[in-house]
Amino acid sequence: MNKKQKKMLKRIIASAVITIICAILPVRGWLRFALYMIPYIIIGYDILTNAVRGILNKQPFDENFLMATATVGAIILGEYTEATAVMLFYQTGELFQSYAVRKSRRSISELMDIRPDYANIEENGKLTQVNPYEIKVGDIVTVLPGEKIPLDGVITEGKTTLNTSALTGESVPRDAECGDEVISGCINLTGLIKIRTTREFSESTVSKILDMVENASSRKSRSENFISRFAKIYTPAVCFSALVLAVLPPFVRMAFLKLPADFGIWIYRALTFLVISCPCALVISIPLGFFAGIGGAGNAGVLVKGSNYLEALSKVKCVIFDKTGTMTQGIFEVAEIYPENISSGELLKIAALAESYSNHPISKSIVKAWKNEIDKSGVSDVEEISGRGVKVKIDGKTVLAGNAKLMMDFGISIPENSHIGTVVYIALDGEYKGLIVISDTVKPTAKAAVTALWKNGIKRMVMLTGDSAKTADAVAIKLGIKEVYSELLPADKVELTEKILAETKGKVAFVGDGINDAPVLGRADVGIAMGALGSDAAIEAADIVLMDDNPEKIAKAIRISKKCMRIVYQNIYFAIGIKLCCLILGAFGIANMWVAIFADVGVMVLAVLNAIRTLYVKDV
């Protein structure tokens, strides 16, 4: 609690105690009035002065004015206890609200506690701590075990494991060694490392993320706009009804029913209206719900750029995927080996030796697949044939490794190709020895991700890719996606997305890795970029950023958004519903001022507590 809140707490306690004493003391008349004025003034002096100031500033209808009118009216009717109690509960509610808001502000900044406070610079063999802002690109920074990496960079010395959970929500530590790129905000767990920085602090990942999270709820959702419009109409409407209630029924009773006017009763009922007319519960709980939802999502490695996107995400009915880098690794790997009169290990070894001098990604993947040390001493006469493959001599034997064209050039007969991916044929001394299939492997979690999306109410899934139809179809079948468009240019992707947008009733999300699909990310209702750590273009273009490249996070993000929206709607219906009920009951004299206090403060407390639930998304 801060100073202001502590002061308010003291006022509440003092006033409550005195009120109870007043209620017990058997005094009547003016003395009773004077006694009750003590707790009433203690708890309500600021509201009364603010109410007067509001009228002078031509800003009536604020809650100070409402509370002041309701309580002064009650006092005039002789309901001293109720007047003081209304003020007491109102202030308690306000205190609770400001405490809850403060608390959730703090817990969200704790969740996103990734800001490094300092960077270690080595000077004359000693480490000194400096402000990360002072570090320039290319400086060498030392990170000790247990410290946060302050700036994005490349490891120049040392080997360690990194905890990226604050950024990605992924709890498994990641190994990093010399030459690896590391991003700011990760925690160095085991070893001392030295980093050559590649970005200034303000450009580093950690600054970008914090900036995004802090500004996220500035883009308001439709629910929030609805509530602020509602609040604007609601208060004057209730006040006006209160006035009607105070005047019209007594008049009707007198003029037409020849009954006594009973002004006291009707004014009392009108005053209960004023107590209910405060829109606080709604106005606070809706933005709080979104704020906590965005905070919770951020902690799970899902960065949402605004409450409007969280709202849109909950209504997504169609998801469009990019293939490479999103559903597949985007890295070439040896997928299958088909040897002919040779062991597969031997075939791979020959291929790896043959390709060992080449820098082509395909060659590299074969070398990588042969996990052992490569002894290049036996390799000679290396000849790279562009667009074909390589021809080398290994221990005096001629080895050919390359595509079908290479085999044809050398008159080697090969089996018909029915494989998906890139095929490398191997021949030894003019004899066909087998083939190796290299493909971009599907991410291990991709299938589960698609299944989870079907389960979460996604009606249509589409995969777009620039890749060949054969490869694309194979990936789609593996994943359980029925609709595939292949061999697309970036412009085609935008066109198709627009067509799908027109066809879909709900919202359309596009998921890409941010590499050359920025226009589509922007065009879809919700653009989701994944594995975006360190990729500026993706962070810029996307509405939602998945910090790691696990496609299962898409379904998780949708579940988080649905939970958030569910709670937001609960609060809207609950708060408006209770208030309307109390208004109706109040008009008929069934609900008294005590019920009205519950409708005001009680509803607000419950709505705020409910809103805070959106922060907890671990098991969503």
Partner: protein, 72 residues
């Protein structure tokens, strides 16, 4: 030009009212108050005198909510 200011305000409804009031000031294209983050993001019209506009903004905000504060 868009600038972000830190603000101090206690109630969410007041923040809404402040937002409305600031949006009416001449020279302000669009103002958004983020109550949870306690920030006011103001987009100024081209050629607007930022100092003048913000002085006016502080004034109207005080009128709506006496306890409010804009740091600029």
């Amino acid at each position: 030009m868009t600038k972000t200011y830190r603000i101090e305000v206690d109630c969410a409804n007041c923040a809404n009212k402040m937002e409305e009031a600031v949006n009416k000031i001449e020279g302000v294209k669009k103002a958004v108050i983020n109550f949870m983050a306690l920030k006011m993001i103001v987009e100024f019209e081209d050629g607007a005198d930022v100092g003048k506009v913000m002085k006016k903004a502080a004034e109207v905000c005080k009128k709506v909510e006496r306890d409010s504060e804009i740091y600029f």
